[in-house]
């Protein structure tokens, strides 16, 4: 892709995200969402491969529908209350339609069907953008409207997302689809707490972005699109296998690593709000995710393939490793001792 087009696309992504997260009026929020949708389509379809075009078409249809629904729900609220403020969405129909629209934007169950396929059809770095940057404006809108959302609907969608993300990730061999289902289950964790403590939603989102960026950039360096490629990627850059294992275990939420922090705080907050059964169910459902993270770590780092590969092993690859991998991996494994400071500032 030409540098000019890449510059315009990335600049438009930053612009759209900034417009939505700093908006007070529903029209500006919608504008930012539209700019984001339009800007990422060239990035998804840049290789003109049939799978990439298919992913771009599915992404476009879903996101355009969701944006139109956001605008429509704000219109219903404006008819009922006479104002367009994002934080004052008091009409119940508008709130339910907005929840459906944001679920479509984010990929929450039952509107998640597009997400694995779109991630599978896009290049690795664009898949990273789709999982992190493109989720930031809808999560911001969820944060801003959190006082008028319907807790039973959100809890049901969150538990279903955690369940589905875990179960459907079990049978996958393509790494981008596995990361898509991991994203869906993390979104479940983010959504379950949004009506009780929206700050924890944002904290979960930030930490999830760090950890998933570490994993995506790692897989991008070794070009490991499927499990079989991952198994032989230890020969390319051995240190990257270790960092991949640590980042995956952090995504799974294991205790000395950072990924434990959002899960711990969410379960604590849910228990304080007398929602112990929801906390128990979501904690048990994240065990399913733990299985496939452990399987990825096992195949990439802990075991070596028993026979030599069919093709020449690459001991030196030409592209240098992105320095961001080091930053993201250290952040995603070592932030847990800083949790009092994190709690004080969220």
């Amino acid at each position: 892709m030409s540098p000019h087009a890449k510059l315009i696309s990335s600049f438009s992504l930053i612009l759209g995200t900034t417009i939505t997260i700093s908006s007070n009026h529903w029209i500006m929020a919608w504008t930012g969402l539209e700019i984001n949708t339009l800007a990422i389509l060239p990035l998804i379809s840049k290789s003109h491969h049939p799978r990439a075009i298919e992913a771009a078409i599915k992404y476009f249809l879903v996101q355009a529908t969701a944006s139109a629904l956001v605008l429509f729900s704000s219109m219903i609220n404006a008819w009922a209350t006479g104002q367009w403020d994002i934080t004052q969405l008091s009409h119940p129909t508008a709130s339910i339609l907005l929840t459906a629209a944001l679920a479509m934007k984010l990929g929450l169950v039952p509107f998640h069907f597009w997400f694995p396929e779109v991630l599978q059809g896009s290049p690795m770095t664009t898949a990273l953008l789709l999982s992190t940057v493109m989720k930031f404006p809808p999560i911001t809108i969820l944060f801003l409207t959190s006082n008028s959302l319907n807790p039973p609907i959100l809890t049901t969608m969150a538990l279903a997302s955690a369940a589905l993300g875990g179960w459907m990730g079990l049978n996958q061999t393509q790494t981008r689809k596995i990361l898509a289902f991991s994203s869906i289950s993390h979104l479940g964790w983010m959504t379950i707490i949004v009506t009780y403590s929206p700050n924890l939603t944002l904290l979960t989102f930030y930490l999830y972005s760090l950890m998933t960026a570490a994993v995506f950039l790692n897989l991008n360096t070794t070009k490991a699109m499927s499990l079989t490629t991952m198994m032989t990627s230890w020969a390319k850059i051995p240190t990257l296998s270790t960092t991949l294992m640590l980042a995956l275990l952090s995504l799974a939420g294991l205790p000395p690593l950072t990924g434990f922090l959002p899960k711990w705080l969410i379960m604590q907050e849910l228990t304080k709000q007398e929602m112990t059964s929801a906390a128990t169910i979501i904690a048990i459902l994240s065990l399913l995710g733990l299985f496939f993270y452990l399987r990825l770590a096992y195949y990439s780092t802990i075991t070596l393939p028993p026979n030599s590969t069919n093709h020449m092993k690459q001991w030196h690859i030409n592209k240098p490793t992105s320095p961001m991998i080091a930053i993201f991996t250290s952040l995603s494994t070592l932030l847990l001792p800083l949790s009092p400071m994190i709690l004080a500032t969220i």
């Binding site: 049939p50 771009a56 078409i57 355009a64 404006a78 396929e117």
Partner: protein, 98 residues
């Protein structure tokens, strides 16, 4: 709800259902998307009229600009699908199944 608001509501809901239940062609889904945007445009245009707020007249124009961009992008996707999949049939978009 006044009859005007009800008509906007019904137009949006019907085109939304048309988008959700699309059957064969991608272009019918794009048409329903355009129809949703059209109903939003007329609804936003009616707002400054019924509330006598002249400053809100920008909103339907802004919305129309973005929905035109979206329509153009949708048509570009249609052409791209014709080049890669041979047609705009939606049941051909099955390369990425789980």
């Amino acid at each position: 709800m006044s009859i005007l608001h009800l008509s906007f509501y019904a137009t949006f809901a019907l085109s939304g259902l048309g988008l959700a239940f699309h059957r064969t062609h991608l272009i019918s889904a794009l048409l329903c998307l355009e129809s949703m945007m059209l109903s939003m445009y007329v609804a936003l245009s009616a707002w400054p009229t019924e509330n006598h707020t002249a400053t809100f007249t920008l909103a339907p124009i802004l919305m129309l600009a973005f929905s035109a961009c979206e329509a153009a992008t949708g048509l570009a996707m249609l052409v791209a699908s014709s080049r890669t999949h041979g047609s705009d049939h939606l049941h051909n978009l099955n390369l990425l199944q789980c």
